[in-house]
Amino acid sequence: MTASQAVRQVFGFFGFLGRRTGKARVFALLGLMPVVLAVVVRIVFHSRTGPLASVFTEILMVFFLQFYIVILALFYGTSVTAEEVENRTLSYLITRPIPKPAVVLGKFAAYAALMFVLVAVSLGLSYFIMNAAHLADPALYLTFLRYLGVLGLGILAYGAFFTFLGTVLKRAIIVGLVFGFGWENVIQYFPGSTQRFSIVHYLKSLLPYAPEGRSAGKGVALLLFRLEPTSPLLSILALAAITAAFLALACWLFRIKEYLYEE
Protein backbone atom coordinates (compact mmCIF):
# COMPACT_ATOMS: atom_id res chain seq x y z
CA MET A 1 0.00 0.00 0.00
CA THR A 2 1.64 3.25 -1.08
CA ALA A 3 2.01 6.08 1.42
CA SER A 4 -0.49 8.27 -0.42
CA GLN A 5 -3.08 5.48 -0.45
CA ALA A 6 -2.52 5.03 3.29
CA VAL A 7 -3.10 8.75 3.92
CA ARG A 8 -6.29 8.62 1.85
CA GLN A 9 -7.56 5.62 3.82
CA VAL A 10 -6.78 7.25 7.16
CA PHE A 11 -8.53 10.39 5.85
CA GLY A 12 -11.59 8.28 5.01
CA PHE A 13 -11.55 6.51 8.38
CA PHE A 14 -11.34 9.68 10.50
CA GLY A 15 -13.49 11.72 8.17
CA PHE A 16 -16.26 9.29 9.00
CA LEU A 17 -15.37 9.02 12.70
CA GLY A 18 -14.93 12.79 13.22
CA ARG A 19 -18.55 13.44 12.26
CA ARG A 20 -19.74 10.81 14.65
CA THR A 21 -18.40 12.06 17.98
CA GLY A 22 -20.59 14.39 20.02
CA LYS A 23 -17.89 17.08 19.95
CA ALA A 24 -18.58 17.94 16.29
CA ARG A 25 -22.17 18.80 17.24
CA VAL A 26 -21.04 21.03 20.11
CA PHE A 27 -18.79 23.03 17.75
CA ALA A 28 -21.53 23.22 15.13
CA LEU A 29 -23.75 24.74 17.81
CA LEU A 30 -21.04 27.26 18.66
CA GLY A 31 -20.86 28.09 14.94
CA LEU A 32 -24.59 28.82 15.04
CA MET A 33 -24.08 31.82 17.33
CA PRO A 34 -22.94 34.29 14.59
CA VAL A 35 -25.79 33.13 12.35
CA VAL A 36 -28.35 33.94 15.05
CA LEU A 37 -26.66 37.27 15.58
CA ALA A 38 -26.85 38.02 11.85
CA VAL A 39 -30.56 37.23 11.77
CA VAL A 40 -31.24 39.49 14.76
CA VAL A 41 -29.23 42.33 13.22
CA ARG A 42 -31.15 41.98 9.95
CA ILE A 43 -34.48 42.33 11.77
CA VAL A 44 -33.41 45.24 13.97
CA PHE A 45 -31.57 47.22 11.28
CA HIS A 46 -33.36 46.15 8.11
CA SER A 47 -34.17 49.74 7.19
CA ARG A 48 -30.62 51.07 7.10
CA THR A 49 -28.21 49.58 4.54
CA GLY A 50 -24.76 50.46 3.33
CA PRO A 51 -21.64 50.52 5.45
CA LEU A 52 -23.40 49.51 8.67
CA ALA A 53 -23.85 45.94 7.32
CA SER A 54 -20.18 45.65 6.41
CA VAL A 55 -19.19 46.98 9.83
CA PHE A 56 -21.09 44.18 11.49
CA THR A 57 -19.36 41.76 9.13
CA GLU A 58 -16.11 43.06 10.59
CA ILE A 59 -17.31 42.28 14.09
CA LEU A 60 -18.23 38.77 12.96
CA MET A 61 -14.80 38.31 11.42
CA VAL A 62 -13.30 39.09 14.85
CA PHE A 63 -15.36 36.18 16.22
CA PHE A 64 -14.27 33.83 13.44
CA LEU A 65 -10.66 34.83 13.13
CA GLN A 66 -9.67 35.31 16.73
CA PHE A 67 -12.00 32.87 18.50
CA TYR A 68 -13.80 30.22 16.44
CA ILE A 69 -11.01 28.85 14.21
CA VAL A 70 -8.54 29.02 17.11
CA ILE A 71 -10.83 26.99 19.39
CA LEU A 72 -11.58 24.50 16.59
CA ALA A 73 -7.93 24.12 15.63
CA LEU A 74 -6.87 23.87 19.27
CA PHE A 75 -9.30 21.07 20.02
CA TYR A 76 -9.03 19.09 16.80
CA GLY A 77 -5.32 19.79 16.33
CA THR A 78 -4.21 18.59 19.73
CA SER A 79 -6.46 15.54 19.46
CA VAL A 80 -4.83 14.30 16.22
CA THR A 81 -2.29 12.37 18.29
CA ALA A 82 -3.13 13.11 21.94
CA GLU A 83 -6.64 11.63 21.61
CA GLU A 84 -5.35 8.28 20.37
CA VAL A 85 -2.80 8.10 23.16
CA GLU A 86 -5.20 9.22 25.88
CA ASN A 87 -7.97 6.81 24.84
CA ARG A 88 -5.33 4.11 24.20
CA THR A 89 -6.84 3.39 20.76
CA LEU A 90 -3.38 4.03 19.28
CA SER A 91 -2.56 0.32 19.21
CA TYR A 92 -5.38 -0.26 16.71
CA LEU A 93 -3.74 2.13 14.26
CA ILE A 94 -0.04 1.45 14.54
CA THR A 95 -0.48 -2.31 14.20
CA ARG A 96 -1.72 -1.82 10.64
CA PRO A 97 0.42 -2.05 7.48
CA ILE A 98 0.58 1.75 7.09
CA PRO A 99 3.45 4.11 7.93
CA LYS A 100 2.93 6.11 11.13
CA PRO A 101 3.24 9.53 9.41
CA ALA A 102 0.26 8.53 7.27
CA VAL A 103 -1.82 8.38 10.44
CA VAL A 104 -0.88 11.97 11.37
CA LEU A 105 -1.36 13.39 7.86
CA GLY A 106 -4.56 11.45 7.17
CA LYS A 107 -6.16 12.37 10.47
CA PHE A 108 -5.03 16.01 10.20
CA ALA A 109 -6.55 16.25 6.73
CA ALA A 110 -9.82 14.68 7.92
CA TYR A 111 -10.13 17.07 10.88
CA ALA A 112 -9.08 20.09 8.75
CA ALA A 113 -11.82 19.23 6.25
CA LEU A 114 -14.34 18.89 9.08
CA MET A 115 -13.31 22.27 10.54
CA PHE A 116 -13.46 23.91 7.11
CA VAL A 117 -17.02 22.66 6.57
CA LEU A 118 -18.10 23.94 10.00
CA VAL A 119 -16.56 27.38 9.35
CA ALA A 120 -17.79 27.61 5.74
CA VAL A 121 -21.40 26.89 6.73
CA SER A 122 -21.37 29.25 9.67
CA LEU A 123 -19.61 32.09 7.83
CA GLY A 124 -21.68 31.59 4.71
CA LEU A 125 -25.03 31.80 6.51
CA SER A 126 -24.15 34.77 8.69
CA TYR A 127 -22.41 36.71 5.89
CA PHE A 128 -25.16 36.43 3.34
CA ILE A 129 -27.94 37.03 5.85
CA MET A 130 -26.11 40.13 7.02
CA ASN A 131 -25.66 41.48 3.49
CA ALA A 132 -28.98 40.28 2.09
CA ALA A 133 -29.78 43.86 1.01
CA HIS A 134 -27.39 43.92 -1.97
CA LEU A 135 -27.02 40.30 -3.08
CA ALA A 136 -26.73 41.39 -6.72
CA ASP A 137 -23.38 43.14 -6.21
CA PRO A 138 -20.65 40.63 -7.44
CA ALA A 139 -17.99 42.26 -5.17
CA LEU A 140 -19.91 40.76 -2.23
CA TYR A 141 -19.12 37.22 -3.35
CA LEU A 142 -15.50 38.10 -3.98
CA THR A 143 -15.07 39.39 -0.41
CA PHE A 144 -16.79 36.30 0.96
CA LEU A 145 -14.45 33.97 -0.93
CA ARG A 146 -11.52 36.01 0.31
CA TYR A 147 -12.73 35.76 3.91
CA LEU A 148 -13.25 32.02 3.49
CA GLY A 149 -9.76 31.66 2.02
CA VAL A 150 -8.21 33.50 4.96
CA LEU A 151 -10.09 31.36 7.47
CA GLY A 152 -9.13 28.21 5.54
CA LEU A 153 -5.45 29.11 5.69
CA GLY A 154 -5.92 29.93 9.36
CA ILE A 155 -7.36 26.47 10.01
CA LEU A 156 -4.42 24.83 8.26
CA ALA A 157 -1.76 26.91 10.04
CA TYR A 158 -3.32 26.76 13.53
CA GLY A 159 -4.26 23.10 13.01
CA ALA A 160 -0.71 22.12 12.05
CA PHE A 161 0.80 24.06 14.95
CA PHE A 162 -1.58 22.52 17.51
CA THR A 163 -1.05 19.04 16.02
CA PHE A 164 2.65 19.55 16.64
CA LEU A 165 1.90 20.74 20.20
CA GLY A 166 -0.31 17.69 20.79
CA THR A 167 2.51 15.37 19.73
CA VAL A 168 5.19 17.10 21.84
CA LEU A 169 3.52 18.09 25.05
CA LYS A 170 1.47 16.21 27.56
CA ARG A 171 -0.44 19.37 28.58
CA ALA A 172 -1.00 20.61 25.01
CA ILE A 173 -4.42 22.20 25.60
CA ILE A 174 -3.23 24.56 28.35
CA VAL A 175 -0.19 25.71 26.33
CA GLY A 176 -2.40 25.99 23.24
CA LEU A 177 -4.83 28.20 25.15
CA VAL A 178 -2.03 30.47 26.32
CA PHE A 179 -0.68 30.76 22.74
CA GLY A 180 -4.05 31.04 20.96
CA PHE A 181 -5.64 33.60 23.28
CA GLY A 182 -2.65 35.11 25.03
CA TRP A 183 0.28 35.52 22.69
CA GLU A 184 -1.78 35.95 19.51
CA ASN A 185 -3.75 38.87 20.98
CA VAL A 186 -0.92 40.57 22.83
CA ILE A 187 1.36 40.49 19.76
CA GLN A 188 -0.47 43.36 18.04
CA TYR A 189 0.75 45.81 20.66
CA PHE A 190 4.40 45.00 19.91
CA PRO A 191 6.26 47.24 17.48
CA GLY A 192 8.03 46.33 14.28
CA SER A 193 8.64 42.79 13.17
CA THR A 194 7.72 41.03 16.40
CA GLN A 195 4.25 40.77 14.84
CA ARG A 196 5.76 38.36 12.33
CA PHE A 197 6.01 35.74 15.11
CA SER A 198 2.28 35.10 15.19
CA ILE A 199 -0.10 33.36 12.80
CA VAL A 200 -2.88 35.92 13.15
CA HIS A 201 -0.63 38.64 11.74
CA TYR A 202 -0.37 36.92 8.35
CA LEU A 203 -4.10 36.18 8.34
CA LYS A 204 -4.91 39.83 9.03
CA SER A 205 -2.52 40.94 6.29
CA LEU A 206 -4.65 38.97 3.83
CA LEU A 207 -7.87 40.71 4.80
CA PRO A 208 -9.49 42.71 1.95
CA TYR A 209 -9.15 46.13 3.70
CA ALA A 210 -6.12 48.33 3.26
CA PRO A 211 -5.33 49.59 6.78
CA GLU A 212 -4.76 53.24 6.18
CA GLY A 213 -7.63 53.40 3.66
CA ARG A 214 -11.04 54.62 4.67
CA SER A 215 -11.56 53.80 8.29
CA ALA A 216 -14.95 52.17 8.09
CA GLY A 217 -16.08 52.31 11.66
CA LYS A 218 -15.01 50.58 14.85
CA GLY A 219 -15.02 47.06 13.43
CA VAL A 220 -12.19 47.54 11.00
CA ALA A 221 -10.01 49.34 13.48
CA LEU A 222 -10.53 46.44 15.84
CA LEU A 223 -9.08 44.01 13.34
CA LEU A 224 -6.41 46.07 11.75
CA PHE A 225 -5.37 47.90 14.90
CA ARG A 226 -1.72 49.00 14.53
CA LEU A 227 -1.14 46.31 11.87
CA GLU A 228 1.99 46.64 9.77
CA PRO A 229 0.93 44.15 7.08
CA THR A 230 3.25 42.01 5.06
CA SER A 231 2.41 41.60 1.38
CA PRO A 232 -0.38 39.10 0.67
CA LEU A 233 1.90 36.80 -1.36
CA LEU A 234 4.49 36.72 1.43
CA SER A 235 1.73 36.05 3.99
CA ILE A 236 0.38 33.09 2.05
CA LEU A 237 3.89 31.70 1.69
CA ALA A 238 4.52 32.17 5.40
CA LEU A 239 1.27 30.40 6.32
CA ALA A 240 2.04 27.54 3.93
CA ALA A 241 5.54 27.24 5.39
CA ILE A 242 4.18 27.18 8.96
CA THR A 243 1.67 24.47 8.08
CA ALA A 244 4.22 22.31 6.26
CA ALA A 245 6.95 22.74 8.89
CA PHE A 246 4.82 21.88 11.90
CA LEU A 247 3.14 18.94 10.16
CA ALA A 248 6.52 17.52 9.15
CA LEU A 249 7.78 17.93 12.73
CA ALA A 250 4.64 16.23 14.08
CA CYS A 251 5.04 13.30 11.67
CA TRP A 252 8.73 12.87 12.45
CA LEU A 253 8.08 12.97 16.22
CA PHE A 254 5.15 10.59 15.98
CA ARG A 255 7.36 8.15 14.09
CA ILE A 256 10.17 8.03 16.64
CA LYS A 257 8.12 8.41 19.85
CA GLU A 258 7.24 5.40 21.97
CA TYR A 259 3.93 5.76 23.75
CA LEU A 260 4.04 4.11 27.15
CA TYR A 261 0.67 3.79 28.87
CA GLU A 262 1.44 3.78 32.57
CA GLU A 263 3.07 0.38 33.29
Binding site: M1, Q5, T89, I94, R96, P97, E258, E263
Partner: protein, 308 residues
Protein backbone atom coordinates in the same frame (compact mmCIF):
# COMPACT_ATOMS: atom_id res chain seq x y z
CA UNK B 1 7.98 -26.16 12.78
CA UNK B 2 9.79 -23.04 11.56
CA UNK B 3 10.68 -20.16 13.82
CA UNK B 4 8.03 -17.44 13.47
CA UNK B 5 8.91 -14.84 16.08
CA UNK B 6 12.53 -14.54 17.23
CA UNK B 7 14.20 -12.29 19.78
CA UNK B 8 18.00 -12.11 20.07
CA UNK B 9 19.64 -10.53 23.17
CA UNK B 10 16.62 -8.28 23.36
CA UNK B 11 16.87 -5.65 26.09
CA UNK B 12 14.67 -2.66 26.84
CA UNK B 13 14.34 -0.22 29.68
CA UNK B 14 12.80 3.21 30.07
CA UNK B 15 14.34 5.66 32.48
CA UNK B 16 15.78 3.41 35.15
CA UNK B 17 12.83 0.99 34.98
CA UNK B 18 14.00 -2.40 33.66
CA UNK B 19 11.75 -3.81 30.99
CA UNK B 20 13.56 -6.74 29.36
CA UNK B 21 17.06 -7.92 30.10
CA UNK B 22 18.89 -9.87 27.37
CA UNK B 23 16.04 -12.10 26.17
CA UNK B 24 16.72 -14.66 23.46
CA UNK B 25 13.66 -16.59 22.37
CA UNK B 26 12.16 -18.41 19.39
CA UNK B 27 8.44 -19.06 18.98
CA UNK B 28 7.02 -21.63 16.57
CA UNK B 29 3.55 -22.39 15.23
CA UNK B 30 0.83 -23.36 17.70
CA UNK B 31 -0.25 -21.58 20.90
CA UNK B 32 2.37 -20.29 23.34
CA UNK B 33 1.34 -18.92 26.73
CA UNK B 34 3.28 -15.90 27.93
CA UNK B 35 3.12 -15.36 31.66
CA UNK B 36 4.91 -13.65 34.48
CA UNK B 37 4.25 -11.54 37.60
CA UNK B 38 3.22 -7.87 37.24
CA UNK B 39 6.03 -5.68 35.97
CA UNK B 40 8.10 -8.71 34.91
CA UNK B 41 8.50 -7.41 31.37
CA UNK B 42 5.57 -9.33 29.86
CA UNK B 43 3.83 -6.27 28.39
CA UNK B 44 7.17 -4.77 27.35
CA UNK B 45 7.82 -7.93 25.34
CA UNK B 46 4.33 -7.70 23.79
CA UNK B 47 4.92 -4.06 22.82
CA UNK B 48 8.29 -4.88 21.26
CA UNK B 49 6.81 -7.67 19.15
CA UNK B 50 3.94 -5.48 17.95
CA UNK B 51 6.23 -2.58 17.03
CA UNK B 52 4.89 -0.21 19.67
CA UNK B 53 8.37 0.07 21.18
CA UNK B 54 11.92 0.16 19.85
CA UNK B 55 14.44 -2.39 21.21
CA UNK B 56 17.29 -0.75 23.16
CA UNK B 57 19.72 -3.62 22.52
CA UNK B 58 19.31 -6.69 20.35
CA UNK B 59 16.64 -7.43 17.76
CA UNK B 60 13.15 -8.81 17.51
CA UNK B 61 12.00 -10.17 14.18
CA UNK B 62 8.80 -11.61 12.78
CA UNK B 63 9.48 -14.12 9.96
CA UNK B 64 12.99 -12.72 9.76
CA UNK B 65 11.92 -9.08 9.34
CA UNK B 66 12.57 -6.39 11.97
CA UNK B 67 9.43 -5.05 13.64
CA UNK B 68 10.07 -1.40 14.61
CA UNK B 69 8.70 1.07 12.00
CA UNK B 70 8.33 -1.76 9.47
CA UNK B 71 4.55 -1.70 8.84
CA UNK B 72 4.21 -4.41 6.20
CA UNK B 73 4.73 -7.21 8.74
CA UNK B 74 1.21 -6.33 9.97
CA UNK B 75 -0.23 -7.59 6.71
CA UNK B 76 0.12 -11.04 8.28
CA UNK B 77 -0.11 -10.22 11.98
CA UNK B 78 -3.20 -9.56 14.14
CA UNK B 79 -3.05 -7.90 17.57
CA UNK B 80 -5.61 -7.76 20.39
CA UNK B 81 -4.74 -4.96 22.83
CA UNK B 82 -5.22 -5.58 26.55
CA UNK B 83 -7.26 -2.51 27.45
CA UNK B 84 -11.02 -2.47 26.96
CA UNK B 85 -10.85 0.55 24.62
CA UNK B 86 -12.68 1.20 21.36
CA UNK B 87 -13.95 3.88 19.05
CA UNK B 88 -17.21 3.90 20.99
CA UNK B 89 -19.39 5.84 18.57
CA UNK B 90 -19.19 3.38 15.69
CA UNK B 91 -21.08 0.14 15.12
CA UNK B 92 -19.34 -3.25 15.08
CA UNK B 93 -19.58 -3.30 11.29
CA UNK B 94 -18.12 0.17 10.84
CA UNK B 95 -15.32 -0.68 13.29
CA UNK B 96 -14.27 -3.77 11.31
CA UNK B 97 -14.68 -2.29 7.82
CA UNK B 98 -12.91 0.90 9.00
CA UNK B 99 -9.84 -0.99 10.18
CA UNK B 100 -9.88 -3.23 7.10
CA UNK B 101 -9.26 -0.17 4.91
CA UNK B 102 -5.57 -0.30 5.63
CA UNK B 103 -4.82 -3.59 3.87
CA UNK B 104 -5.35 -2.48 0.29
CA UNK B 105 -8.46 -4.62 -0.19
CA UNK B 106 -11.17 -3.64 -2.66
CA UNK B 107 -14.46 -2.41 -1.14
CA UNK B 108 -16.23 -5.70 -1.86
CA UNK B 109 -13.45 -7.74 -0.25
CA UNK B 110 -13.56 -5.54 2.87
CA UNK B 111 -17.31 -6.17 3.27
CA UNK B 112 -16.87 -9.90 2.67
CA UNK B 113 -13.99 -10.21 5.19
CA UNK B 114 -15.88 -8.20 7.80
CA UNK B 115 -18.93 -10.41 7.41
CA UNK B 116 -16.81 -13.56 7.74
CA UNK B 117 -15.03 -12.27 10.86
CA UNK B 118 -18.36 -11.34 12.46
CA UNK B 119 -19.71 -14.80 11.67
CA UNK B 120 -16.67 -16.47 13.27
CA UNK B 121 -17.20 -14.58 16.53
CA UNK B 122 -21.01 -14.80 16.03
CA UNK B 123 -21.77 -11.12 16.35
CA UNK B 124 -23.57 -10.97 13.03
CA UNK B 125 -26.91 -9.87 14.48
CA UNK B 126 -25.24 -7.17 16.59
CA UNK B 127 -23.19 -5.72 13.74
CA UNK B 128 -25.30 -2.56 13.46
CA UNK B 129 -25.30 -1.69 17.15
CA UNK B 130 -22.88 0.93 18.54
CA UNK B 131 -19.90 -0.63 20.32
CA UNK B 132 -20.79 1.64 23.28
CA UNK B 133 -23.80 -0.64 23.83
CA UNK B 134 -21.86 -3.92 23.65
CA UNK B 135 -21.50 -6.15 26.71
CA UNK B 136 -18.00 -6.99 27.97
CA UNK B 137 -18.11 -10.39 26.26
CA UNK B 138 -19.19 -8.91 22.92
CA UNK B 139 -16.45 -6.25 23.12
CA UNK B 140 -13.82 -8.93 23.69
CA UNK B 141 -15.13 -10.88 20.71
CA UNK B 142 -15.26 -7.88 18.35
CA UNK B 143 -11.68 -7.14 19.42
CA UNK B 144 -10.77 -10.72 18.42
CA UNK B 145 -12.65 -10.23 15.12
CA UNK B 146 -10.57 -7.16 14.18
CA UNK B 147 -7.41 -9.19 14.81
CA UNK B 148 -8.37 -12.08 12.52
CA UNK B 149 -10.37 -10.17 9.84
CA UNK B 150 -7.32 -9.74 7.54
CA UNK B 151 -6.57 -13.46 7.85
CA UNK B 152 -3.13 -13.12 9.51
CA UNK B 153 -1.02 -16.18 10.23
CA UNK B 154 0.27 -14.73 13.53
CA UNK B 155 -2.05 -13.67 16.33
CA UNK B 156 -0.88 -11.84 19.44
CA UNK B 157 -3.46 -11.65 22.25
CA UNK B 158 -2.93 -9.59 25.41
CA UNK B 159 -5.19 -10.90 28.25
CA UNK B 160 -7.93 -11.98 25.78
CA UNK B 161 -10.09 -13.72 28.40
CA UNK B 162 -10.09 -11.01 31.08
CA UNK B 163 -13.57 -9.95 32.17
CA UNK B 164 -15.36 -12.73 30.28
CA UNK B 165 -17.93 -14.92 32.01
CA UNK B 166 -17.27 -18.69 31.93
CA UNK B 167 -19.34 -19.20 28.77
CA UNK B 168 -17.62 -16.30 27.04
CA UNK B 169 -14.27 -17.82 28.02
CA UNK B 170 -15.19 -21.22 26.62
CA UNK B 171 -16.35 -19.67 23.35
CA UNK B 172 -13.17 -17.62 22.88
CA UNK B 173 -10.89 -20.52 23.87
CA UNK B 174 -12.57 -22.63 21.17
CA UNK B 175 -12.07 -19.82 18.61
CA UNK B 176 -8.37 -19.52 19.48
CA UNK B 177 -7.87 -23.27 19.20
CA UNK B 178 -9.65 -23.35 15.83
CA UNK B 179 -7.35 -20.55 14.68
CA UNK B 180 -4.32 -22.58 15.82
CA UNK B 181 -5.55 -25.72 14.11
CA UNK B 182 -5.25 -23.91 10.77
CA UNK B 183 -1.46 -24.14 11.35
CA UNK B 184 -1.04 -20.57 12.61
CA UNK B 185 0.92 -19.06 15.48
CA UNK B 186 -0.73 -17.62 18.57
CA UNK B 187 0.94 -15.86 21.50
CA UNK B 188 -1.39 -15.40 24.47
CA UNK B 189 -0.53 -13.52 27.64
CA UNK B 190 -2.62 -13.95 30.78
CA UNK B 191 -2.49 -13.55 34.52
CA UNK B 192 -4.99 -16.32 35.22
CA UNK B 193 -2.97 -19.55 34.86
CA UNK B 194 -5.93 -21.94 34.60
CA UNK B 195 -6.87 -19.97 31.43
CA UNK B 196 -3.41 -20.60 29.94
CA UNK B 197 -3.62 -24.27 30.88
CA UNK B 198 -6.98 -24.48 29.08
CA UNK B 199 -5.30 -23.20 25.89
CA UNK B 200 -1.86 -24.79 25.72
CA UNK B 201 0.84 -26.68 27.57
CA UNK B 202 3.64 -24.62 25.99
CA UNK B 203 4.64 -21.58 28.04
CA UNK B 204 7.27 -18.87 28.27
CA UNK B 205 7.78 -17.61 31.81
CA UNK B 206 9.26 -14.10 32.14
CA UNK B 207 10.43 -12.78 35.49
CA UNK B 208 12.49 -9.69 36.33
CA UNK B 209 13.01 -9.13 32.62
CA UNK B 210 14.53 -12.58 31.96
CA UNK B 211 13.19 -15.81 30.49
CA UNK B 212 12.87 -18.07 33.52
CA UNK B 213 11.50 -21.10 31.74
CA UNK B 214 10.29 -22.08 28.32
CA UNK B 215 8.72 -25.31 27.08
CA UNK B 216 5.91 -27.74 28.01
CA UNK B 217 4.60 -27.47 31.54
CA UNK B 218 5.10 -31.17 32.52
CA UNK B 219 8.58 -31.08 30.97
CA UNK B 220 9.45 -27.99 33.02
CA UNK B 221 7.99 -29.60 36.14
CA UNK B 222 10.30 -32.55 35.66
CA UNK B 223 13.31 -30.30 35.32
CA UNK B 224 12.65 -28.60 38.64
CA UNK B 225 14.92 -30.76 40.70
CA UNK B 226 15.01 -28.53 43.72
CA UNK B 227 11.42 -29.32 44.68
CA UNK B 228 10.37 -32.94 45.21
CA UNK B 229 7.06 -34.03 43.70
CA UNK B 230 4.00 -34.13 45.93
CA UNK B 231 1.61 -37.09 45.72
CA UNK B 232 -1.60 -37.05 47.71
CA UNK B 233 -3.38 -40.35 48.47
CA UNK B 234 -6.79 -40.33 50.17
CA UNK B 235 -7.59 -43.71 51.60
CA UNK B 236 -9.46 -45.44 54.41
CA UNK B 237 -6.30 -45.75 56.60
CA UNK B 238 -3.56 -43.26 55.67
CA UNK B 239 -1.42 -44.18 58.71
CA UNK B 240 -1.24 -47.84 57.69
CA UNK B 241 -0.23 -46.72 54.18
CA UNK B 242 2.40 -44.39 55.66
CA UNK B 243 3.79 -47.19 57.86
CA UNK B 244 4.45 -49.27 54.73
CA UNK B 245 6.45 -46.49 53.04
CA UNK B 246 8.43 -45.22 56.05
CA UNK B 247 11.38 -47.47 55.25
CA UNK B 248 11.50 -46.36 51.61
CA UNK B 249 14.61 -44.19 51.12
CA UNK B 250 13.21 -42.27 48.14
CA UNK B 251 10.50 -40.68 50.30
CA UNK B 252 11.61 -37.30 51.63
CA UNK B 253 8.62 -36.19 53.63
CA UNK B 254 5.18 -37.43 54.61
CA UNK B 255 2.36 -35.27 56.01
CA UNK B 256 -1.20 -36.09 56.98
CA UNK B 257 -3.96 -33.88 55.59
CA UNK B 258 -6.32 -32.00 58.01
CA UNK B 259 -9.23 -34.26 56.99
CA UNK B 260 -7.37 -37.18 58.59
CA UNK B 261 -7.81 -39.24 55.40
CA UNK B 262 -5.09 -37.88 53.20
CA UNK B 263 -1.43 -38.80 53.12
CA UNK B 264 0.81 -36.39 51.19
CA UNK B 265 4.15 -37.84 50.17
CA UNK B 266 7.11 -35.85 48.78
CA UNK B 267 9.64 -37.75 46.70
CA UNK B 268 12.13 -37.21 43.90
CA UNK B 269 11.57 -40.66 42.40
CA UNK B 270 7.90 -40.60 41.44
CA UNK B 271 8.36 -43.59 39.15
CA UNK B 272 9.57 -45.82 41.95
CA UNK B 273 6.82 -44.68 44.31
CA UNK B 274 3.98 -45.23 41.83
CA UNK B 275 5.47 -48.59 40.91
CA UNK B 276 5.09 -49.80 44.52
CA UNK B 277 1.88 -47.96 45.40
CA UNK B 278 -0.67 -50.28 43.70
CA UNK B 279 0.92 -53.38 45.21
CA UNK B 280 1.11 -51.88 48.71
CA UNK B 281 -2.51 -50.72 48.64
CA UNK B 282 -3.83 -54.11 47.61
CA UNK B 283 -1.61 -55.96 50.04
CA UNK B 284 -2.78 -53.75 52.93
CA UNK B 285 -6.38 -54.13 51.76
CA UNK B 286 -7.01 -50.37 51.83
CA UNK B 287 -9.91 -48.54 50.18
CA UNK B 288 -8.37 -45.75 48.04
CA UNK B 289 -10.62 -42.83 47.17
CA UNK B 290 -8.25 -40.58 45.35
CA UNK B 291 -4.67 -40.27 44.08
CA UNK B 292 -3.54 -36.86 42.79
CA UNK B 293 -0.45 -34.67 42.36
CA UNK B 294 -1.33 -31.30 43.88
CA UNK B 295 1.76 -29.51 42.55
CA UNK B 296 1.62 -30.77 38.99
CA UNK B 297 -0.05 -27.61 37.66
CA UNK B 298 1.13 -24.33 36.27
CA UNK B 299 0.39 -22.45 39.50
CA UNK B 300 2.93 -24.45 41.48
CA UNK B 301 5.47 -24.38 38.65
CA UNK B 302 5.02 -20.63 38.72
CA UNK B 303 5.37 -20.52 42.51
CA UNK B 304 8.61 -22.53 42.50
CA UNK B 305 10.27 -20.47 39.78
CA UNK B 306 8.98 -17.08 40.84
CA UNK B 307 7.94 -17.58 44.45
CA UNK B 308 9.70 -16.03 47.38
Amino acid sequence: MSVVIAAANLSKWYGNVLGLNDVTLELEEGITGLLGPNGAGKSTFMKLITGQMKPAIGTVTVRGRRVWNNPEIFQGLGFCPEHDVFYEDVTGWEFLTGLLRFYGYAKSEIAERAARALAVVDLTEDKDRLIRGYSRGMRQRIKFAQAIAHDPDILILDEPLSGLDPLGKRKLIRLIKEFKNQGRTVLVSSHVLPEIEALTTRIVLIHQGKILAQGDIPFIRELIEAHPHQISVRSSDPRALAARFVGDRSIQKMTFGPDGQTLVVETHKRDEFFGRLTGVVLEAGLEVEEISSPDDNLQSVFEYLVGK
